[in-house]
Amino acid sequence: MRPGPGGCCCRRTVRANGCVANGEVRNGYVRTSAAAAAAASQIHHVTQNGGLYKRPFNEAFEETPMLVAVLTYVGYGVLTLFGYLRDFLRHWRIEKCHHATEREEQKDFVSLYQDFENFYTRNLYMRIRDNWNRPICSVPGARVDIMERQSYDYNWSFKYTGNIIKGVINMGSYNYLGFARNTGSCQEAAAKILEEYGVGVCSTRQEIGNLDKHEELEELVARFLGVEAAMAYGMGFATNSMNIPALVGKGCLILSDELNHASLVLGARLSGATIRIFKHNNMQSLEKLLKDAIVYGQPRTRRPWKKILILVEGIYSMEGSIVRLPEVIALKKKYKAYLYLDEAHSIGALGPTGRGVVDYFGLDPEDVDVMMGTFTKSFGASGGYIGGKKELIDYLRTHSHSAVYATSLSPPVVEQIITSMKCIMGQDGTSLGKECVQQLAENTRYFRRRLKEMGFIIYGNEDSPVVPLMLYMPAKIGAFGREMLKRNIGVVVVGFPATPIIESRARFCLSAAHTKEILDTALKEIDEVGDLLQLKYSRHRLVPLLDRPFDETTYEETED
């Protein structure tokens, strides 16, 4: 490709007959190279934002095409109508009722759970239920073995045929750095510790469940993150729900992102503090909330807030977006708030050395007050941690609910975390960790680029290994999952209520264990299925981020 007269931005292909082509027709849409280049450079320039970012921040959420939105609503409307019809038939016993019912002796008790909550489950979820809870019987690496299930009553119950679908490409497990392995140094170390220590602990951290292994782990985590001290817990979900109440209480304010995970929401609610939501990743919205909070104080009494805590995540797993950390830190410093960063998906997966989103932006870990993360995704183990200043960790050791009432981590799991973390840090003498981090970054860029070129709508940041592919219509959720499984690829599809009702999506989780061949196979099949189901909605109309009109935020307050 010789650089054309437009300079390096425009690539004008020279055709065989010597003419310079101005653009190409792809998928029915004429796409000129100049327009595409201009759009790309626009994004690049607009998000530099005054030098806070040392690298381009390319995040895009293409708008839903109007026709697709209308058809999606129509689809849900038809399903709801049929749902009411089926309920009617079941009520009058014309149709057999498959789901479990209340005991005869207890029929006149107050109902145990809400019926309307169940309408969606009975009539929409049940139809495509075979796409979830697929049982596997091998290690969840790049390829996995799935147990085959058959249903003879439209997904109300499943029977296992006894067959195992072997070697399914796994695009659903959170195995970012490929540590989900049943061979290798991590597994051997864990096996040794299992022989020595056993599996359980049978006590809490504050009583007699604090093993020397736990102390070793916490010291290593602190070194890995670059903070003063750290503390580890047995469950990632519980890390949030048990420690946020220990940090804030009544009279404090929590500013939480719109799309925060259920564990953060639960922790915030249990704390008793006032919660205000700001628009997803929108810094103007956050700044306005901060300003108003400090200027106007608590509602009605106007007393000043005791403290303000900002809850954000490193990578949002449903959107694939990365938090705008440099701007959040700048705001936090200006308004003297505290920052709680949940790096469940980003630790190990982002950054040149795999130290997470702080490393990715090249910032100082001391700027984040509470760094929380989980060991489930990139370390192939389970559990969560919190890192920060020594006073914070001392306080959590004495006041965290988990330290007092919950059993500590199991020793072989701890050993797996220690070994994998040492590997990522390069302390085990090999460069395996560095290679994995680089491989993941390459896989991410390659996969996203190819999918965008094919014409799918892909949400999120270009560097995030979580890749949501939009499906929109309810029937396509089921169809996509099943078609991909037929072609030996296991994907995760998500619909309501995890996403807004018309924005159902398929979510791919890339892994360093995926080789280029695996990705190419997967991409070929996705291409085929995309054509079959007509999923290539993209019109390449990427909305540059700061151009979105910022409307007056009226915040919703939820007080408990």
Binding site: A100, V201, L211, A238, L247, F379, Q416
Partner: protein, 443 residues
């Protein structure tokens, strides 16, 4: 012609006015007056915005000082320095460098260092690796989990069971899945912290009844019935029962089936039994079991189930093997009961300490007979006893609570745990050591 039609329409209108019923006219009249009032009344803004200038706002922002993120913790806080256990927390435990006999871990059936359990876990590790890398809904369901759920349901003789990856999260996720705002829950005062958090998350009304006092519970149910005016302790007042069996699973009953087996109650009468696998089963995690109607709901509404990674398969395999062992030797439960009775009797009559707990329970408390008046002082005294016992190779621990967060804070105490692995001599030695130390410290 136009005026004629106009007049004619007018006549019709006037006629309609005469024929309309009176209340209709009055209503219309009131509405018209109301509209006039609204049009002329002063509008007021929904949100009071005091007129602060930009400069004043900036000053306020400058002046505001938040509290420190966490208050400083005094260096001698009793819970700050943990005991460090080197090696496995099994029957002979090495605490802070001293080898002791373990009277503090909830390892009731001694399954923590059972070689069969370890072998099963090792086989699972070699097959599946350590973590599951996903929640149950997204390729995190292993065949081991399905096996464990089946086995637990069969063991407890219920229709279905569901497992969680963390013991605390089990009951704390189960309660809010069923009980929401507007529901009423009757809870024992001494309910554990996990139950309290589950109740807090559910936002239901909570009524506490005195510990183990059925008369008090009946009184509360009667009061509620009067309020509700509903006709007709479970079938009479139409309440459901959720039972939390973390400490009684694998301990009570002929086959370790818990409280229902112990009292001979039909398991179908209990709506939900929740227990954690971290005590008798010496694994990690928890489970709920009951009828399918009840349990299946949690698969979509249990927060700790849907939004969290599943239990590592090696822990599930260890739990299955532990269940196998429990089913093969039902004799251990009787042995455990006997040991409990023995040490309970041996610890009676220590001057200064009283034994709190049933003689059947393998975990009971030693509280100060007379409190010194301040909780801190009590805690210090008990810690002194614990430290001296550790010096004499008996590992004990104080029962830890979050003092500001518990609803009904129990008095400070030392928890003594009896396990199947403790021999009769060790029990005797423990009893005499505690007696000596208590005498030395408290008198």
């Amino acid at each position: 012609m136009a005026t004629a039609t106009e007049q004619w329409v007018l006549v019709e209108m006037v006629q309609a006015l005469y024929e309309a019923p009176a209340y209709h006219l009055i209503l219309e009249g009131i509405l018209i007056l109301w509209i006039i009032r609204l049009l002329f009344s002063k509008t007021y803004k929904l949100q009071e915005r005091s007129d602060l200038t930009v400069k004043e706002k900036e000053e306020l922002i400058e002046e505001w000082q938040p509290e420190p993120l966490v208050p400083p913790v005094p260096k001698d806080h009793p819970a700050l320095n943990y005991n460090i256990v080197s090696g496995p927390p099994s029957h002979k435990i090495v605490v802070n460098g001293k080898e002791c006999i373990n009277f503090a871990s909830f390892n009731f059936l001694g399954l923590l260092d059972n070689p069969r359990v370890k072998a099963a876990a090792l086989a699972s590790l070699k097959k599946y690796g350590v973590g599951t890398c996903g929640p149950r809904g997204f390729y995190g369901t292993f065949d081991v989990h399905l096996d464990l759920e089946d086995r637990l349901a069969k063991f407890m003789k219920t229709e279905e069971a569901i497992i969680y990856s963390y013991g605390f999260a089990t009951i704390a996720s189960a309660i809010p899945a069923y009980s929401k705002r507007g529901d009423i829950v009757f809870v024992d005062r001494a309910a554990c912290f996990a139950i309290q958090k589950g109740l807090q998350a559910s936002r239901s009304d909570i009524k506490l009844f005195k510990h183990n006092d059925m008369a008090d519970l009946e009184r509360l149910l009667k009061e509620q019935e009067i309020e509700d005016q509903k006709v007709k302790l479970k079938y009479k007042y139409k309440a459901r029962i959720f039972l939390e069996e973390s400490l009684s699973f694998g301990v009570l009953g002929e086959h370790g089936g818990g409280v229902t087996e112990h009292y001979g109650i039909n398991i179908d009468d209990i709506d939900l039994i929740s227990a954690n696998m971290e005590n008798a089963l010496a694994s990690i995690g928890g489970f709920c079991c009951g009828r399918s109607f009840v349990i299946d709901h949690q698969r979509l509404s249990g927060q700790g189930y849907c939004f969290s990674a599943s239990l590592p398969p090696l822990l599930a395999a260890a739990a299955i093997e532990a269940l196998n062992i429990m089913e093969e030797n039902p004799g251990i439960f009787a042995v455990l009961k006997e040991k409990c009775r023995q040490i309970h009797k041996a610890l009676q009559g220590i001057s200064g300490l009283k034994v709190v707990g049933e003689s059947l329970s393998p975990a009971f408390h030693l509280q100060l007979e007379e409190s010194t008046g301040s909780r801190e002082q009590d805690v210090r005294l008990l810690q002194e006893i614990v430290d001296q016992c550790m010096n004499r190779s008996i590992a004990l621990t104080q029962a830890r609570y979050l003092e500001k967060e518990e609803k009904c804070l129990p008095p400070p105490s030392i928890r003594v745990v009896v396990t199947v692995e403790q021999t009769a001599e060790e029990l005797e030695r423990a009893a005499s050591t505690i007696k000596e130390v208590a005498q030395a410290v408290l008198l």
